[in-house]
Symmetry: C2
Subunit: 421 residues, 2 copies
């Protein structure tokens, strides 16, 4: 275990052998690629690295080593380590749940949900969130240095799954000396990890909150992901994935991918309410391809700001984990089998206007849990904000989470919240 | 009026001045661009060209001249020219409604709807369909030769609107000596043209069938269009629109645009029914970015086959016409005003699973027509096929169209169908 040892070693090898003479452009690009990995590592917060003796065994049959997990913690772990909540982030999220994001400088992605006195009360709970394997905020992913080549993996990174992410998180939880998590919670791809945790490690999950998710990715959602991947791969700067090594960036392709995806995170209602057909800084159409409409301007901004904080290859790999997710398929085609005998308490949440992970798919999880007589509650939150509602200020969601966590905490025998509730 | 005279003239000018010496690559590209326009013209079927004395006056204030309209007709115009049906095609459609398409070799896009004895009965009606202005199957569009430069317009083509398309169609209808169309019908962008016809030329439209459309493009739909345009423009082969002149093709960008759009033409239900999570020619995931899933393979095919038959700049211009469409905005913000005093009979059709042009938007048209006491019927067809349902075999749609046309024909005093119905 060490902080990013592998890439430091690779860097040293490069500088020793190549500093004597004028660097070629390929060498310069290689140094830049290594610097890029170095920068990501420096911004990743806390990390733990598992060496050659502790490889991550992958669903594909391959294994990944060394494995670095970058993570953040919030609040205080109690003496018997019984108040830990693992938060699983979504596709383009990361470990910075509530503190300032080191790249964007903005508040963490779930600052409204997590904090002292908030639904996930940091006066009471110890929160852990790790950048997923395959990500780009410090955990090992396609932009990490491949120890066999000394340059970023790119497409030599193995294709991973949601189950692989969860196994890596379990290694981190072991490392932190935590036997059982009080709760595992997350939305979207994070919700898939929650379900996988409950299926893979039932005795280690006291309670679980899968939000706006599904037990398998739908055909339509695979289709949207495929569009995003093709947009990235169509960018000549993607260079068959070797853009870090060749010192280019597939920014346009990644931006288009993000734009397409972003529409699916919203709803027709909220787009109509926020933008309608309003013009952007003009009173009438310009009869051009400028961003005449506010919604065009908004979408272009979403695309261009995303490329500053996310790695294109990570986008390919992480969308693929969701496509591959089908929990029933791993259990003789019967979803209920994934949860048979479970003692975990579940609170499933969906949003009325979420068409990416509609209520029906969330209810399907509830039915499977009912079939094994699990302890499960289900909340469909009324919202016009679409899939993104789980990231936004939604009092009904906050109330459901705090209520469920409070009841589970009493059952677990945790000390009451400071407010006395 | 003449067949593609303008581009022939431009071609002659080029060869006279440049054949004496070895052509530069720019000249070669220019010749290829002209040949490309020539090929399109040769495949366009019937054409009519309006010369400098008859410019198309555009909503933007500009005008377009010369103007060529490429069109097809089917069936026989009766003696008093009272049995003509104008079919307006959708975004990527064209004039080849029911005969073999000259590029793809496949049956015309509405072969199931239009033919002898079919819902639009060619034993009874005379059908006209014209490639829209801005299109790429022979009507003047961004790939046509700009008479001022001798090379394709590219982005020097003026931005056009649905109303401009309809004015151009009216010039064609004048040319054919038809005072009043028995019916104007079409789906999607074609339905927008139907509504515009009824608003702009109320006395020339005896009946109208707008299908799966809207009186204004929604914020979400503008957003999807913007993604498609950005995908095209992100392709370096687009060359700021000058790809024909520079002898490149933005095929990857256009393919991504088509893939994203194609998802919106379907429904989650039909994708689930047709593809689900089925693998393509394999039993298990390959743990790669190959098209593991049937839906990925299908989508890639939709993208790659589209670029063989459609022009990227036409795609930009035609999506823009739909974004700009807002019939109420042209009538003091009140849609009903667009139809005040109308004597046209309307049959509006929507599909239950169409989320691109949902029933609500179609019903909004019906309500506006009700407000001016128009003669209107409304049919919501049960279908799981999404927006594309209007192009497919949908018996309920066929029955609605044939029933409505039959009743309107009796009212118009047309001779009965051969079958005696």
């Amino acid at each position: 275990m060490a902080n990013s040892l592998s890439f430091v070693a690779a860097r040293r090898e490069l500088t020793a052998s190549e500093t004597d003479r004028e660097p070629t452009s390929a060498q310069t690009a290689r140094v830049k690629a290594l610097q890029s990995a170095e920068t990501a590592a420096a911004m990743s917060g806390r990390t733990v690295t598992f060496g050659p003796g502790e490889p991550l065994k992958l669903a594909s049959g391959k294994s990944l080593s060394p494995l670095t997990i970058a993570y953040q913690t919030y609040g205080t772990l109690n003496a018997d380590k019984s108040n830990a909540i693992l938060i699983c982030h979504a596709l383009t999220g990361d470990q910075f749940v509530t503190d300032t994001h080191p790249v964007t400088g903005r508040a963490g992605w779930w600052s409204e949900m997590v904090g002292p006195g908030k639904s996930v009360d940091l006066d009471r709970f110890f929160v852990i969130c790790a950048d997923v394997v395959g990500g780009c905020m410090g955990s090992t992913g396609p932009s990490s240095i491949n120890p066999e080549t000394g340059v970023p993996y790119a497409l030599e990174f193995p294709v991973i799954t949601i189950a692989d992410m969860v196994r890596a998180q379990a290694m981190l939880i072991d490392q932190l000396g935590i036997d059982q998590l009080f709760c595992v919670m997350g939305g979207s791809m994070g919700g898939m990890q929650v379900l996988q945790w409950a299926a893979s490690f039932p005795t280690r999950v006291f309670s679980a909150i899968p939000i706006a998710t599904a037990a398998r990715h739908s055909s339509q959602n695979i289709a949207f992901h495929e569009v995003g991947r093709q947009a990235v791969m169509a960018d000549p700067n993607w260079r068959q994935g070797r853009y870090l090594i060749e010192d280019t960036r597939p920014e346009k392709g990644l931006s288009v991918a993000r734009m397409a995806a972003h529409i699916t995170y919203l709803s027709e209602e909220v787009l109509h309410r926020k933008f309608g057909r309003n013009f952007q800084d003009r009173d009438a159409p310009t009869f051009s391809f400028d961003a005449d409409f506010q919604v065009e301007s908004y979408l272009r901004y979403q695309g261009s700001s995303f490329v500053d904080r996310f790695d294109a290859n990570s986008y390919l790999y992480l969308t693929r984990t969701m496509d591959y997710f089908d929990l029933a398929a791993d259990h003789e085609g019967v979803l209920a089998n994934a949860f048979s005998g479970t003692k975990t308490r579940f609170c499933c949440v969906s949003f009325t206007s979420d068409w990416l992970f509609p209520t029906a798919g969330n209810r399907h999880i509830v039915h499977a849990l009912n079939a094994v007589a699990a302890n499960v509650s289900f909340v469909e939150v009324s919202s016009d904000k679409g899939h993104d509602a789980f990231l936004l200020v939604e009092p009904e969601l906050f109330a459901a989470v705090s209520g469920f966590l409070g009841a589970a905490a009493r059952r677990r025998g945790l000390s009451p919240a400071k407010s006395g509730i």
